[in-house]
Each structure stands twice: as structure tokens, then as C-alpha cells.
């Protein structure tokens, strides 16, 4: 046992004496969270719109006011004719043009059917779709206000409620995603690098010719990283809830134990990588290519899994990240208990055991 603690102490010296490691460990989580939280967001705010109002009556003015009064849209300019539309888009800062045809009010009241045209700049398709959705919602509400006043015949009126994230805040998606990403990076990449470093520097040769058992060598190297990554996940959770108001509806204890489990999964992956590679560079490349990219692209963090082609959906199942993101969202946003997340937890646990067994089998008690 004394040997083990000495080993852990030595590993801590390595971590705290290497400035680069420290920056990666503690700087990156904060930077990533802030970046994703503030800068990289797919929410729409203050999109600039232009209005071409041929009708110029009370109803059309009311509609334009209603739209531009929201925080989503700002009125940039009033256009005079159709010829102005394309130049307005070309200038680049106009995202949407609202065209209201002549006699809008008359059509609406007399014929009970009026049309308006929404033109969006679809060179950025996601934004365009979101804008149309927002505008439709506002127009719908406006229509409802008007019809309520005038007691028109029955209409089906959908009450839309966005459950778990009523404000559609993208932070709620990014905090679990970034957390997964960082834990993956810290645990898997750092462990694989630190173990291959011993091989590269030749110190593994001495460790092997010592009474230390392989289990002890690996555990001694990994334990400091388990503690560190657990600490880091707490930092991320605090940042998420203090700065971005990310809720934790479920039990914090359950959340932390899920984090602990995922740390173990990532660490066991790191150990596996290090037992298959011999240099720090290879280990880093493998973790980058094999872990980070799939985590970002395929785990449902950035792109929804449901909209992927079927083969990729199947591949996404073998990513621990996918299951962890599901667990995080369930606990934090839906307040799920252990019973609801038993399946993903079980899968993560199974993966961890599998990786550990394979890497212990692969650990070489000799040099070649």
C-alpha cells in the first residue's frame, strides 16, 4: 500500500510540475464552457429584418410592430419596392424580409384569408429555418389576438410548450456536451499520454524490473487523474449553473456518481490506448482522432443522432459519450432517477469493464 501511495505522489509531482498539463487540465474546461456558452450559440437574437409593406394599414403595422417588438427581430429598414429586396440581402446584414401585399387588412377581414411572404437568407440554413419558425409563431399569435377580438369561427389552436427547456436555451445542450468532451479529453488523452511517456522515457523499463505489479502501476498512474477529472466535472457543473443557470433537477448525488462512472470509462479507454501504442505522439493522435472527433460529431452533442444516416446511428451506440450525454440530460433537465437511467449507466459500466479487462490482458510484463 505504501508503494501505491508513493506512486500516486510521484504522479502528482508530474502533473503539478508540468505547466502545460496544468493549463490543459484547468484552463481548457473554463475556456470551452465560456466559448460554447457565450460565443458559439445557435440561438437567434436581434436578427435584422427588412419590411416591404404595400398595404400600410392598421393591421399590417400591427403585425410589423409585433414582430420587431420581440427580442428575436430588429427592424433594419423599410423597403419601397421588390427591386430593393435582393440588394438588401446582398448587403449581408439582413436575415429576413417580410413582404405584406396590398390590401392585407381587407383580405384578412373580408375574405378571412390574407397572405404575407417571408424571405430568408438560406445561405445559413439552420438560422433561416429558425427565423421562419420564430416569425410563424409570432404571426400565429398575432392572428389569434385579432381573431379573438372579432369572434371568428372555431379554429384548432395548438398550445405549444417546449418541455424541459422552455426557453430553448442552447446552453442546456452545450453544458452536457462540453462536459463529456472535457472528461474524455482529460481522462482518456491525459492517461494515455502519461503512460506512454513512461515507455518513451525508458522509465517503464525500470518499473517493470521492480516488484510492482502491472495492476499497481496502472492504478497508481490513473488515480490522480480520476480525482482531477472528478474535480473538473464539479467545476463545469458549477460554471454551468452559476453562469448559465443550468438546472439540476435530479439528484446531485446521482449526477456525481454518473460523472464518476464516465471518468472511469474514459480512463479505461485511455489505458487501453496506452497499452496499444508506444509513443506519446501516437497516443495523442489516436485519442484525438479516435475519441474527440466522434465525441463531437457522433455523440449527439452537436448534431442530433436521429438525423444521421442509419449506419452512423448504429456506430454512435458504441460511443460512451452518447450514453453519458443522455444520462446528463436526463438527470439535469428531466430530473430522472436511477431507474430511468439504468440502461445507459449499465452500458457505460459494461464498457468500462470491457476496456479494463482488454488493457490488463494487453499490458506487457516485458518489453516486446
Amino acid at each position: 500500500m505504501k508503494q501505491f501511495f508513493e506512486f500516486v505522489k510521484k504522479e502528482c509531482f508530474h502533473i503539478f510540475r508540468d505547466r502545460r498539463t496544468l493549463i490543459i487540465l484547468f484552463g481548457m474546461p473554463v475556456v470551452l464552457i465560456v466559448l460554447f456558452g457565450f460565443a458559439i450559440t445557435n440561438e437567434i437574437r436581434h436578427a435584422r429584418v427588412a419590411v416591404l409593406d404595400y398595404s400600410q394599414d392598421a393591421l399590417s403595422h400591427g403585425l410589423v410592430n409585433k414582430i420587431t417588438a420581440s427580442t428575436y427581430f430588429d427592424l433594419a429598414e423599410n423597403l419601397r419596392s421588390e427591386k430593393d429586396i435582393l440588394p438588401a440581402f446582398r448587403k449581408g446584414d439582413i436575415r429576413m424580409v417580410i413582404v405584406i401585399p396590398n390590401g392585407f387588412s381587407r383580405d384578412f377581414i373580408r375574405e378571412r384569408k390574407a397572405s404575407i411572404q417571408l424571405l430568408t437568407d438560406a445561405s445559413d440554413p439552420n438560422t433561416a429555418t429558425t427565423l421562419i419558425n420564430y416569425a410563424n409563431a409570432i404571426i400565429g399569435r398575432y392572428q389569434q389576438e385579432q381573431t379573438n377580438l372579432q369572434h371568428l369561427p372555431l379554429t384548432i389552436h395548438p398550445e405549444v410548450r417546449m418541455v424541459y427547456n422552455p426557453m430553448l436555451k442552447s446552453v442546456f445542450l452545450f453544458v452536457p456536451g462540453v462536459m463529456t468532451l472535457i472528461l474524455m479529453l482529460v481522462c482518456a488523452m491525459m492517461t494515455s499520454i502519461t503512460i506512454t511517456r513512461e515507455k518513451e522515457l525508458g522509465t517503464m523499463e525500470i518499473l517493470l524490473v521492480s516488484p510492482l505489479r502491472p495492476m499497481l502501476i496502472i492504478a497508481g498512474k490513473v488515480v490522480p487523474y480520476v480525482l482531477l477529472s472528478f474535480f473538473i466535472s464539479i467545476i463545469i457543473l458549477c460554471l454551468g449553473s452559476w453562469i448559465f443557470g443550468m438546472p439540476v433537477k435530479g439528484s446531485i448525488l446521482l449526477l456525481l456518481s454518473a460523472c464518476g462512472l464516465f471518468c472511469l470509462t474514459a480512463l479505461s479507454l485511455g489505458i487501453l490506448i496506452s497499452s496499444l501504442t508506444n509513443s506519446q505522439q501516437t497516443a495523442m493522435m489516436v485519442s484525438m482522432m479516435g475519441l474527440l472527433l466522434p465525441t463531437i460529431l457522433l455523440s449527439g452533442f452537436v448534431y442530433p443522432i436521429e438525423s444521421m444516416p442509419v449506419p452512423l446511428q448504429i456506430v454512435s451506440n458504441i460511443l460512451p459519450a452518447k450514453w453519458f450525454i443522455i444520462i446528463l440530460k436526463d438527470i439535469m433537465l428531466k430530473g430522472s432517477g436511477l431507474r430511468q437511467i439504468a440502461l445507459p449507466m449499465g452500458i457505460l459500466g459494461g464498457m468500462t469493464c470491457f476496456f479494463l479487462i482488454v488493457s490488463l490482458r494487453k499490458f506487457k510484463i516485458r518489453l516486446s
Partner: protein, 304 residues
């Protein structure tokens, strides 16, 4: 029981035969040297004995334990210092020593008398990171770390490579003192002059042992007369001598050339002065290990 027994060891890396039928034994308290150039197979042999590599064929025993079957027991008993500096560069001298003492389940204090002589030399730098030590200091620290658990056999792979001459001499003095504590030591070196400091040496080349004996016996067995040559233009001298039909071998040796030849020195010197060499000095020389090694090497590479 002999502490180290090596019997007919073979090791192949791909097509390269790294070790070819190696056999020798090291007795209790013996300082045994493996002498040979880079690539002779010395490090491979060390790794096999340190249980880090498996031999293709043959048997090796350390303290009567088989290097394959009883690798775990051997790892508790030996001290191994790899050829490449392999301590933690970001840990201080003291921390490194403490770490290696602890993982071998002992303390620095417990075996301090064994390392005292060596450690006292690096003690002034005990708070310096190991990576910032000079070459000689690094090797002394590595030796301390290999000794701190009081091994019953010591493997030192090229401990003096890349070390300045003064530190090299100090290092060998330490080995002599360790020998007095009755620890058998297997040491390798590419430096021929260090061979004479060993009790017995094995001359290795291309994965094979060419000769095993005590250094005086090896030299005594060498019957070919050796002549030392020197002139004002050494570069031309070495070329002319090697081209001379009567000269068998010619190698640079310090400020002289060591030459073996089939004719007497007068004939050769005659043709050299005729060739325009000035300041020519020719004298009989005592053969050293290096001369033997060169002759053996030539015999091995050019079989008659």
C-alpha cells in the same frame, strides 16, 4: 551457486541475429565486463537477464532462478540500470531515490551504507531536478537508484557512455568498492580502456562472444608483435600503412598507430621515408585489449 549463468542464448530480431550462442557465468563478487561496440548485442543480453526480453533459445539463470519462469522473484533481487538514462527528469534527486526505495519496499535510510559513497557526491544537488544534472551526476544517481534496495546482483548497461573522463574514473572506483561488498556486477562498455578494470571480460561483436578471459590473460595470449608508428602527417601515414603489402592491420591508438605486419619494421619504414614521411617514430608496443579486439574483429569479419 554462480549468481549469473548464461547458457547458449540466441535472440533474433527479424532477420538480424542480435545474440548468437552466448554462454558465460559470473561468479560471486565478480566484476564481469561485456566489451563491444554499439550494436554488439550487449543491451539485448542485459534485457534478457533483467527478464525484460525473452530469448529465442537457451537458458539463463540469475541467483539460480530462471529468467523466464521466475521473473517475478528475479525482479525483486536485481538492480538494473538501463543504457538510456531512465529516471524521472522532473523529480529531484532526492525524490527519485526515495521513489525507487519505496517501490522496492525499503527506505533510503535502511540501505544508506551501501550508497553513501556515491550519494555523498550528488547530495549537494539533492533538490535539483534529475533532468538538470550533468551526465556523470545522472549516472551516479541512476546507480544509487539501482542500488538502493540492496540488490544481490547488479546489471549496469553502459553506465559510462556519454560521461566525461574524470567522472568515468570515479564511476569505476565506485564499482571497485561495490565489488568489495561482494555484489556480483555485470557491466557493459564500448570503451576498451575500461576492460582492464574488470575481473573478467567477454569481447562481443555482432551478437557473438569472441573471447572470455581475464584482461591480462587476453593480452598475454595475443602473440602477434605490435609496433607503434607515428609521423608528422598521421592521416597520410595511416593510408600508406594500410596500403602497404606487408602490413596486416593498422589502427589509430592514441597518438600512435598500432600496426601488425609480416615483415620487420625496417623494411616498412624504408618505404615510408621513401614515400616522403618525416618525423617518423617506430617502437615496439605492448598489446592492449583494443589490439586484441581489433584482431579478433578482423578475424571474425574476414574468415580465412
Amino acid at each position: 551457486m554462480e549468481p549469473i549463468v548464461v547458457q547458449n542464448i540466441y535472440k533474433q530480431f527479424g532477420n538480424v541475429s542480435a545474440l548468437h550462442d552466448i554462454s558465460f557465468t559470473v561468479g560471486p563478487g565478480e566484476l564481469f565486463g561485456l566489451i563491444g561496440p554499439d550494436g554488439a548485442g550487449k543491451s539485448t543480453l542485459f534485457r534478457i537477464l533483467a527478464t525484460l526480453l525473452l530469448a529465442d533459445k537457451g537458458k539463463a539463470m540469475v541467483n539460480g532462478l530462471d529468467v523466464v519462469k521466475d521473473y517475478r522473484a528475479i525482479r525483486r533481487q536485481v538492480g538494473y540500470m538501463p543504457g538510456k538514462f531512465s529516471l524521472y527528469q522532473d523529480l529531484t534527486v532526492e525524490e527519485n531515490l526515495h521513489f525507487f526505495a519505496t517501490i522496492f519496499n525499503t527506505t533510503v535510510k535502511e540501505n544508506y551504507d551501501l550508497i553513501r559513497d556515491i550519494y555523498e557526491q550528488i547530495a549537494p544537488f539533492k533538490n535539483r531536478p534529475a533532468g538538470k544534472l550533468s551526465g556523470g551526476m545522472k549516472q551516479k544517481l541512476a546507480l544509487c537508484c539501482a542500488l538502493v534496495h540492496k540488490p544481490s546482483v547488479l546489471f549496469l548497461d553502459e553506465p559510462t557512455t556519454g560521461v566525461d573522463p574524470v567522472s568515468r574514473k570515479e564511476f569505476w572506483d565506485m564499482l571497485q568498492r561495490l565489488k568489495e561488498k561482494n555484489i556480483p556486477i555485470l557491466v557493459s562498455t564500448p570503451y576498451m580502456d575500461e576492460a582492464t578494470l574488470c575481473d573478467r571480460v567477454a569481447l562481443m561483436q555482432n551478437g557473438a562472444i569472441m573471447q572470455i578471459d581475464t584482461p591480462p590473460a587476453i593480452v598475454a595470449e595475443f602473440r602477434t608483435k605490435i609496433w607503434a608508428f607515428k609521423s608528422d602527417d598521421m592521416y597520410r601515414l595511416i593510408r600508406d600503412l594500410r596500403a602497404h603489402p606487408e602490413v596486416k592491420t593498422c589502427f589509430a591508438f592514441g597518438e600512435f598507430l598500432h600496426v601488425t605486419m609480416t615483415a620487420g619494421p625496417e623494411e616498412v619504414s624504408g618505404s615510408l621515408t621513401a614515400g616522403g614521411h618525416t618525423g617518423l617514430v617506430i617502437k615496439p608496443a605492448n598489446a592492449g585489449i583494443e589490439d586484441v579486439f581489433m584482431a579478433l574483429m578482423q578475424a571474425q569479419t574476414q574468415p580465412v
